[in-house]
Amino acid sequence: MSTAVAMLGPRRALRVVEHNARAYLRMWPVFVSGFLEPAFYLFSIGIGVGELVGDLPGPGGSPISYKLFVAPAMLATSAMNGAVFDTTFNFFFHFKYAKTYDGMLATPLSVRDVARGELTWAMLRCGLYATAFLVTMWALDLTPSGWSVLALPAALLIGFGFGGVGMGLTTYMRSFVDFEYVTLAIVPLFLFSATFFPLSQYPAALEWVVRISPLYQGVALERALILGDMGPELLLHTAYLGAVGWFGLRVAGRRLGSLLQP
């Protein structure tokens, strides 16, 4: 029994995780540097622009610093980025060009094992980024509440939601040109999900559009946990993200079945 089996157990989907881990070992700087972007945003917008913004009203009306407002949003964003990158660009490359999955299906792995394995890997990756980011936040004194510990499982849930949707949508992509649409979706989500300014800055009609955004759900969840602002609406955010991810995974599993085993 190899060490990997000992560590990951005998489940087949985990073979896919092992494959990705081994592939990334050869280009670990690319993997590690994925953590940097949200951290740079925290330093630039959170701390740099934060000096221009001053304090914002926090939970219960007590003021919080702008960097404390932005940090949980960057945590949610880093989880989204980690999951989306692996389940769209990399997934498409493996699927269409590298033919990785054809190879995998020639083994006892099933299509559902492949989909589950890829999503597990994406979540693992975003869990690592989220951990690193949380430690950074803790070092900068940006984790005022004990509930912050739950920010990590929340990040995994965000990864599950976006990973599932990303993988589902990728099965409909025809070529890399279509990925312009992924960028066209991710950037507005990143900018307009109450990440850099609160819901109250939006016109009333747009407020509800923002609330529908899955990243907003993730940002609201992370922000409440980091600030210790617990309430029943957190269950709604959780259910929303879980449902979105589950639906995407279902679509991906079904579509991949017909695409890879015609």
């Binding site: 690319v30 740079f40 945003y41 630039s44 740099g48 913004v53 312009e180 900018l191 307009f192």
Partner: protein, 274 residues
Amino acid sequence: MTDTAPVIHDRSAFDALAEAVPMLRVAEREARVWRRFWRTSALTSVLMPLLFLGAMGVGLGGLVDDNRSSVEGVDYLVFVAPGILAATAMQAAAGESLWPVMAGMKWIGTFHAAAATPVSPPDVFGGRLLWIAARHAMTASAFVVVAALLGAIPSPWGVLAVPAAVLTGQAFAAPLSAYAGGQDSDIPFPLIMRVGIVPMFLFSGTFFPVDQLPDWLEPVAWVSPLWHGVELCRGATTGSLGVASAAGHTAFLVGIVAGGCWWGARTFTARLAP
């Protein structure tokens, strides 16, 4: 001779010009390819900076203006608009110079095909730069018009922000294309983006003045080509830049473009010359 060459088209002014300047043929080729997918491409390149302007300038700017009346004497929207203009020119230039050059050299090999014609390797390099400049002129113009309508460009000198943004883009396109032309693998490219381009995007006076940086970091910002580009663009849109500083920033950027061209001619010749 029984077999005469068919007349494909009449000689136009462009043909006459391209005979004297062969790199125009390379730019023409890029333009013809671009025509196949210009809608998505134009949508992304025009929309992205405008989304940033809406989020940062209008949304975040509302918070900044509530907190303090101005940044460097202007509204935050006016402050950040030229920053976004220059920074997106840099990002686009990097994206167009790294992977597409690798594709032309190695993955698809179009540069080798071009160099097999009377077009020389330095022409291949120069033609691509020319095309990147043309595209940046288009997207920067669109941005300046929309920003002006939003009230982000108080000075009529703002039209000069378009050439300033093009120059900023070239200051990245030239050295990065030259570098990519000499590489055999794209593995370092994401690192260049994440460790070079993204921090420059965020810390070159784009979103907040560089004098807010820690003292030891401020001199680092001065050598960032993007900082010079942002200062030029901001000087144009606010109409506040003196002739001497404008000349200084321009000279810095032109120097980088010149150095990049010299380097690019070398790497492209080494790779493409028969």
